[in-house]
């Protein structure tokens, strides 16, 4: 295998599936009545005698089709009523991931950090029309009730009270994830980029570059420059950890009154990799707020405060050059997600919310500008073009 092809097997399968799906007919949002029928059929086998009710769509997300429902089970061993969430892929999503992989990780993280309890998975769409997973509902909100309408939770303003309650939890959970003993865990399908010190960076780079190509990303000089810079400046990984992949405000649930985090969500991009990749993602400006010119990552930490606190709590040191590399990669990934992946899904009519994807695509001007700023930074200058 050449270095250009090197990536986790699951990601190669995801790319192949995305390419193959391009020729399929248009996709439309599932109706509540259709979901009710699907769930009833599924539980006829998975939990005979159980009944489905209260199916309703979950709003706010940009990627999956999600529905709450109630499962009433009258069996002698499993009696009771419980709330569940069905999480199902559209035909083409803004982030193409694997439900089976996410299910595996949610099970591995039970008792480590707060996560939803994943109960059933249909990773290959054997029953549901698209890959799907079912998990127990966790109470909590992703943003304060007075935060107003925000697409996909970007730039959520928490306010001083919640900020004070959430910041330590946010940091502690991230440190716990990075300290998780993945070598001892049961995580089939999760491969380890340990062939050489650059493999962790190479796997990320190759995956996102191929996603850009598969989705016919439109070349633009700053993106070409960034892609080449990332190829030429891959850092060594000093320690392989479990990374979350999309760690930020908006991707955890909390109780509004107490500020207690009840669940960390959206583990679909988790992998074994470099912790700097997670840190740089947290520090993306689009996921934070500006308060009188002061940036706060996820509205919780100023940049240097976040880095310093992470070092203190984790005992790891943050290599500024490596962090800079992943700062560039994060903006590049966001550009790919919004300008190529989201727009490919919308153009092909393979998603249930094209109008949201075209709305989100307008953010790519910010990511292009981020890349100009980052690549102009003196510390960015390596041996690349």
């Amino acid at each position: 295998m050449t270095a250009l092809m090197d990536m986790e097997a699951v990601n190669r399968r995801i790319l192949d599936r995305r390419l193959a799906n391009r020729s399929l007919p248009p996709y439309r949002a599932a109706l509540t009545s259709e979901i009710t029928e699907m769930l009833s059929g599924f539980f006829d086998t998975a939990r005979p005698g159980a009944t489905i009710s209260g199916v309703r769509r979950v709003g706010g997300g940009a990627s999956k089709e999600q529905f709450f429902f109630t499962l009433a089970d009258t069996g002698p061993d499993t009696g009771g009523t419980e709330q569940y969430l069905l999480r199902m892929d559209p035909r083409l999503a803004i982030t193409e991931t694997d439900r089976g992989r996410e299910f595996t990780l949610l099970q591995a993280m039970r008792g480590v950090v707060p996560v939803p309890e994943a109960v059933w998975v249909d990773a290959n769409a054997d029953f549901f029309p698209q890959p799907a997973a079912i998990m127990k509902v966790v109470t909590g909100v992703t943003k304060p009730s007075d935060a107003g309408i925000k697409v996909s939770g970007l730039g959520t303003w928490l306010g001083p009270d919640l900020r004070a309650k959430l910041r330590d939890q946010f940091m502690d959970h991230l440190v716990t994830i990075h300290g998780f003993d993945w070598r001892a865990a049961e995580m089939p399908g999760y491969e380890v980029p340990d062939a050489d010190a650059k493999q962790a960076a190479r796997w990320s780079y190759n995956y996102w570059r191929d996603l850009w190509q598969i989705d016919d990303g439109k070349a633009r000089p700053i993106i070409s420059l960034a892609e080449q810079w990332l190829a030429d400046n891959m850092p060594d990984c000093s320690e392989l950890v479990l990374t979350h992949g999309d760690y930020r405000t908006g991707n955890y649930l909390f109780e509004e009154a107490s500020g207690r985090v009840t669940a960390l969500l959206d583990w679909e991009l988790a992998r074994i990799g470099d912790y700097h990749e997670d840190l740089a993602w947290v520090l993306m400006q689009v996921f934070g707020t500006f308060d009188n010119g002061t940036f706060r990552a996820s509205d919780l930490f100023e940049r240097e405060d976040f880095i310093r606190t992470y070092e203190q709590r984790s005992g790891r040191s943050v290599n500024r050059q490596t962090l800079h590399y992943y700062d560039v990669m994060s903006s590049w990934k966001c550009y790919i997600i919004t300008a190529a992946n989201g727009m490919a899904a919308a153009r092909s009519q393979h998603n249930h919310q094209d109008v949201l994807l075209t709305f989100l695509a307008t953010t790519n001007a910010m990511f292009a500008d981020d890349l100009v700023r980052l690549l102009a930074d003196d510390s960015a200058q390596g041996d690349a073009a």
Binding site: A29, T32, R56, R57, V58, G59, G60, I149, V151, L154, G155, K218, A219, R220, P221, I222, S224, L225, E227, Q228, A231, D232, Q285, V286, T289, F290, H352, Q353, V355, L356, T358, F359, L360, T362, T363, A365, M366, A368, D369, L371, V372, L375, A376, A384, A385
Partner: protein
Amino acid sequence: MTPNTDERIASVIRALTEVILPQLPPEASLAQEQLHLSVGHLQILRAQFDAIPGYEREELDDAVAIGIALQAGVFGGSATQQALTAIGTAVAAADGSNVRGQRQAIHDAIDTLVRAVSADGDAQGKSALRAIILKQEHARAQKDRKWFAPFGFDTL
């Protein structure tokens, strides 16, 4: 032109917000979300409609400017020279008859140049490529951010 474009878009917005939206049941969360986003798109399109041809023409002009700057400032081996020739061809063809296609042709040629310079450009060529792209794209990104600011994501 009667009705003009502004009047047509305005009437669609009014139908969506005052006739269709009130009829959507509260539980139709996706439909409500999509309708709000559709109205938002239309309002911004309405505000920008007259400026769109000028904006797209300026995108092409900026692509031509960066192409010319790269031709003048970047040198290297045979792959680099070949890519520079392709940029010259794309720039020469940019007469404004197809602003999107011509802009993309220049950007595609620049993409090839970036790879070529990495392969056989000298240090000076690499430095020039980087400086020219960063300068031109900084200016372009500011224009794009301002253009898309009404969508509400930007902290500009």
